[in-house]
């Protein structure tokens, strides 16, 4: 299958597909980060995670319209930063509410959490459809995100892609530092590793649970906000990604952030490289099959934390 291409063409193809893979990788990482915190750390299955992401995307859409309608034109270029912060807080606040109203009653029944959050995702989807309509919406990018960088004759890289990738790196490092160094991160890990002892040394475990869940949802909101840079948003966009995202988290080893990043990289690169040579659906089938196959051989995932439960 490589015969009909010259060497330089092949290099370009791999570079371009590799880059497309990197954008997919960014989306996976941003979505999976929130899930890695909620599922990996707390063991809660949040099937509505995709919908929290879409919430962030809709917040960004609304903010961009507010800026376009009511703000001076010169400010439009900076709407994205405000939208992202707002998306984080809106999704986080909703997450905290959902944890309080629903999740906290179900910690002992993980399978039931799964069903309840699926119900939540249906309600959220229909809400989006009622409020924003069934059609997909997109935002107008600020000028500085338009266009692309020409590397060689054949390799061309869009600027919004680069921006999303830089954003991903910054957020990932931020989350990693926060989980390792901050008070909340330390408390979260303490609660995960040994809940009774964490409570015994004076950590308010319920509060930590709520903040952790809100944080995971907030990061999903940021992911959705970044998602508007590269694609349009519809009421069911979140559902498209949820299975992929869960596989990324499980494949990486649920409790390890590094594993999540590594598995997001593997899956996205495999998929986008194969997509060029096979049809898109076969590439996806092969990738998912490989992941499921590896998970059957190594259920604990790529990276594991050895902790006593």
């Amino acid at each position: 299958m490589f015969a009909e291409y010259t060497a330089s063409e092949l290099t370009s193809i791999f570079a371009m597909q590799g880059f497309a893979g990197l954008i997919l990788f960014s989306v996976f990482v941003l979505m999976a980060l929130g899930l890695a915190i909620i599922f990996g750390q707390m063991g809660v299955i949040n099937m509505a995670h995709g919908e929290f992401m879409i919430l962030g995307a809709y917040v960004t859409y609304l903010v961009s319209h507010l800026f376009a309608d009511y703000m001076p034109e010169s400010l439009y270029n900076s709407y994205f930063l405000i939208a992202m912060v707002l998306a984080f807080f809106v999704a986080g606040a909703l997450g905290a509410f959902v944890e309080w109203a629903m999740i906290r009653h179900l910690y002992k029944r993980p399978l039931d959490t799964l069903l309840a959050t699926w119900g939540l995702s249906l309600i959220m989807q229909q809400t989006y459809r009622t409020v924003f309509g069934a059609r997909e919406v997109g935002v107008v990018l600020p000028d500085w995100l338009m266009g692309s960088v020409q590397l060689t004759d054949m390799i061309e890289i869009p600027i919004n892609g680069i921006f999303v990738m830089i954003l991903t790196v910054v957020i990932t490092i931020g989350v990693a530092i926060m989980m390792q160094r901050s008070r909340l991160g330390k408390q979260t890990r303490a609660v995960v590793q040994n809940r009774p002892m964490a409570a015994a040394v004076g950590i308010n475990t319920e509060k930590v649970d709520r903040l952790t869940f809100a944080l995971g949802c907030g990061i999903a909101g940021i992911a959705g906000s970044a998602f508007t840079m590269i694609g349009s948003t519809g009421p069911t966009s979140g559902q498209l990604y949820i299975v992929d995202t869960f596989l990324v988290v499980v494949f990486g080893g649920a409790a390890s952030l590094l594993g999540t990043v590594a598995s997001a990289f593997t899956i996205s690169q495999a998929q986008s490289t194969m997509e060029f040579f096979l049809s898109g659906s076969m590439a996806k089938v092969l990738t998912l099959l490989t992941v499921v196959g590896i998970l059957m051989l190594r259920p604990e995932g790529l990276f594991t934390l050895k902790i006593r439960r």
């Binding site: 063991g43 299955i45 629903m102 009653h105 179900l106 029944r109 993980p110 399978l111 039931d112 799964l114 069903l115 309840a116 699926w118 119900g119 939540l120 995702s121 249906l122 309600i123 989807q125 229909q126 459809r129 009622t130 559902q239 299975v243 869960f246 596989l247 499980v250 049809s279 659906s281 076969m282 996806k284 089938v285 998912l288 099959l289 992941v291 499921v292 998970l295 059957m296 259920p299």
Partner: protein, 386 residues
Amino acid sequence: MNNITEFIARNRYSHMIILALLLAVVLPLSMDIFRLNLVGKYLTYAFVALGLVLCWGYGGILSLGQGVFFGLGGYCMAMFLKLEASSPENTQIQSTPGIPDFMDWNQITELPWFWEPFHSFGFTLVAVLVVPALFAFIIAVAMFKRRVGGVYFAIITQAIAAILTILIIGQQGYTGGVNGITDLRTLNGWDIRTDSAKYVLYYVNVVLLFACIFIAGFVVKSKLGRLLVAMREREDRVRFSGYDVSNFKIFVFCLAAMISAIGGAMFTLQVGFMSPSFVGIVPSIEMVIFCALGGRLSILGAVYGTLLVNFAKTSFSESFPELWLFAMGALFIGVVMAFPNGLAGIYQTYIEPRLISKKKGYEKEDPKKKDDNPALANPEEEKTHA
């Protein structure tokens, strides 16, 4: 009157007889064939819900991919019917007569090898049961022998449902793609689209459903059923007692897959087509709510749960389509948060004690008692929905 209600609540088979009367006499007499055919379609989902009672309610294994087995059973049957419908005489206008029309549209000139055996009706009947069971067996052995369970199993079965859907849609030439296998006409020369055929198929469906209910009841009452419950509650203890836990899980998962596949095959026969929209993640998880609403521990409850949710879905989507997803979402949350044992749980807690004046002889753990039947609570409700 008291004696009758007491008899109903105490007799082992009374609930089953009531369901049988409802399905075999009341519904066919009170509905036209169009509505009855719809009920028949719902009842094919009840097979899946029944399988879920066994593997989720009793075995504690939540599979979010039961649509896969429903679909496999349905596709096996659809392949046979499609081959019969695309005989060389019927397909003379195609560039290659004798192959299904969607293959001809996709420039395929020869019948693929895995379609060949489906010329035989006997082989098809075997395949409907064996193909899904074999598929379930492979998944179950790989997962349960490595002690993967709980939410991981749920996620992986969901991924498998996603994979199969993408595969079916992507391989349009071999599977009919997103439209599925349509335009099915005859079964061994017998036209399945006539009203009389629909009546016959409805009754075949009801009989098969009851056969599966008896099998499920037998499994639940047997020692195996006890072990499944023990395993669900304390897997380690069962393992330490010397049982090979994974084999029980594999068995119950394969049994659930086979029961779902029968439902799928009956679906194809009654509705006249099969498509990937019954295989994927969304239908699979909807089937879980049928089971959860009826009561995850109640075999008959699964049937009532399926009927109620589907009647509600049909009437909602006819009058207020935008409200249906809200109602469905609320149903998921409400059942899980407030009534983990579903309608059967409500019946047992609030209604059955009133029917029985004396508590004597009431065994809480008797599985038969769990199969109680919410229809007593609202026998009229189902008819009004219809």
